[in-house]
Structure formats: structure tokens, C-alpha cells
């Protein structure tokens, strides 16, 4: 089965110590995927309230559907400019 690629940025990549994680999963939701990610990288858990997520390059909420082959991004508060 295709995996779900999770990309981590900024402070989230820093905390997790990696910029990319592959998770095996059936079709699921962002919230469920987060649980798997937080199991693998518990150091991310304290950041949860500040994080946003994207599925395939677009912001998405916790109940958004995520399918094998999708790219999910973990987005700390943006600070461009």
C-alpha cells in the first residue's frame, strides 16, 4: 500500500528531528494521522495547539480525509515577511 508522506517544517521539524515521515495507513482523517505521528514523535505533542496542517498543498482541518499517496504537511505558526 502507498504510504502517506508527512512533511515537517520550522519548529516542528526541529522538535521531531526530521523533515519527513512516512506513515502506513488506510484512508483516514488528519486527526487520526496526527495521533500516529504523535505516537512516533511524542516531542511534537506539546506543539499541537499551535499547528496547522495541509493536505496536498492546501490547508485542511482535523476531519479532512487523507488517502494513501497524499502529502500532509505539519505547519507551525507561519512567520514569513
Amino acid at each position: 500500500m502507498e504510504k502517506i508522506t508527512v512533511r515537517l517544517f520550522g519548529a516542528a521539524a526541529d522538535r521531531a528531528g526530521t523533515r519527513e515521515v512516512e506513515l502506513a495507513s488506510e484512508t483516514t482523517t488528519l486527526d487520526e494521522l496526527w495521533s500516529k505521528l504523535a505516537d512516533r514523535h511524542p516531542e511534537l505533542s506539546p506543539m499541537r495547539p499551535t499547528l496547522a496542517f495541509a493536505v496536498n498543498d492546501e490547508y485542511a482541518g482535523g476531519d479532512a480525509r487523507v488517502e494513501p499517496g497524499d502529502e500532509v504537511a505539519v505547519l507551525p505558526p507561519v512567520s514569513g515577511g
Partner: protein, 146 residues
């Protein structure tokens, strides 16, 4: 024109590229690296990273939103990634409009929206450690605890 670049931003070329005979106003905003100080520590440089291509897409969305809302004939937004030294531009926004009101409003709007929705992150590298701006995650002891 919307771009994320690794090299220094040539703001002069961006501004003169915006001049048009149907416009009377060109408003430009440039964000530059400011050296903040705290006690004996100071910012030495910034490091930006972007989530591409989402960041490119969000810059273009901001541009489209501006052209929807104001009578603006040209919008360019260029954001730099990687290391940006003190006094150097990290972002440049150039808006040309027939009249100055919309040009000012649109350029202000663009920088506010960039700071809200474009997936770009700034790490301040201080003389005593670094800090991810907005997340307060880093190696600077004093700030990590706030």
C-alpha cells in the same frame, strides 16, 4: 510575478518592472532583517524556509485576491529563503495602481496576508542560540521558557 528565491532580491528591478502608463502609483514594501538586541545577545542573521509549492500558490492567491478587491494593475511578491543578513530584504511587494489609495492599501494587505497564510518560517539566529519566530522553539534559554 510571484516567486520564492534563494538569491538576494533586486528591489530596484522589481519596482521599475511595475511602471505602467495606465498607473500613477507604485507602492512597495520591503521587509529587511532587523538586529534586535536582548541583554548582551543580538540577532546575527535570519534563516527562512518555505513549504513549496504551497508557498508559491499562496503568494499567487494573495495577488489574485488583491486584484479582485482593488483597482490594481500589477502585483509582484518575492520572498527570499535561506540566510538573510542584517539590513537585507527578505520580502518585497510591489503594487501598481491607477491611484495611490488602492496601491497603499493593497501593499499593506499583502504583507499582512503573507504573515497569516504563506507557509514560510523564520529562524532568528542570535549570538546565544536560535529561536523559531512564532513557535518560541529554539536553543535560547531565556526565550524557550516564555
Amino acid at each position: 510575478m510571484f516567486a520564492i528565491v534563494e538569491e538576494p532580491i533586486d528591489v530596484g528591478a522589481l519596482v521599475s518592472g511595475a511602471y505602467r502608463p495606465d498607473c500613477g502609483a507604485v507602492a512597495t514594501f520591503v521587509g529587511t532583517t532587523r538586529v534586535d538586541e536582548s541583554g548582551e545577545a543580538r540577532v546575527e542573521h535570519l534563516e527562512y524556509e518555505a513549504y513549496r509549492p504551497m508557498a508559491d500558490k499562496k503568494l499567487a492567491e494573495i495577488g489574485a485576491g488583491i486584484r479582485n478587491r482593488w483597482d490594481v494593475r500589477y502585483v509582484a511578491i518575492v520572498h527570499r529563503v535561506g540566510r538573510v543578513d542584517p539590513g537585507e530584504p527578505s520580502v518585497a511587494i510591489v503594487v501598481a495602481a491607477p491611484r495611490r489609495g488602492p496601491a497603499f492599501e493593497a501593499s499593506r494587505h499583502a504583507i499582512e496576508r503573507i504573515k497569516e497564510i504563506v507557509p514560510i518560517w523564520k529562524r532568528e539566529v542570535w549570538s546565544d542560540g536560535y529561536i523559531w519566530v512564532g513557535s518560541q522553539v529554539g536553543t535560547r534559554g531565556a526565550i524557550r521558557t516564555t
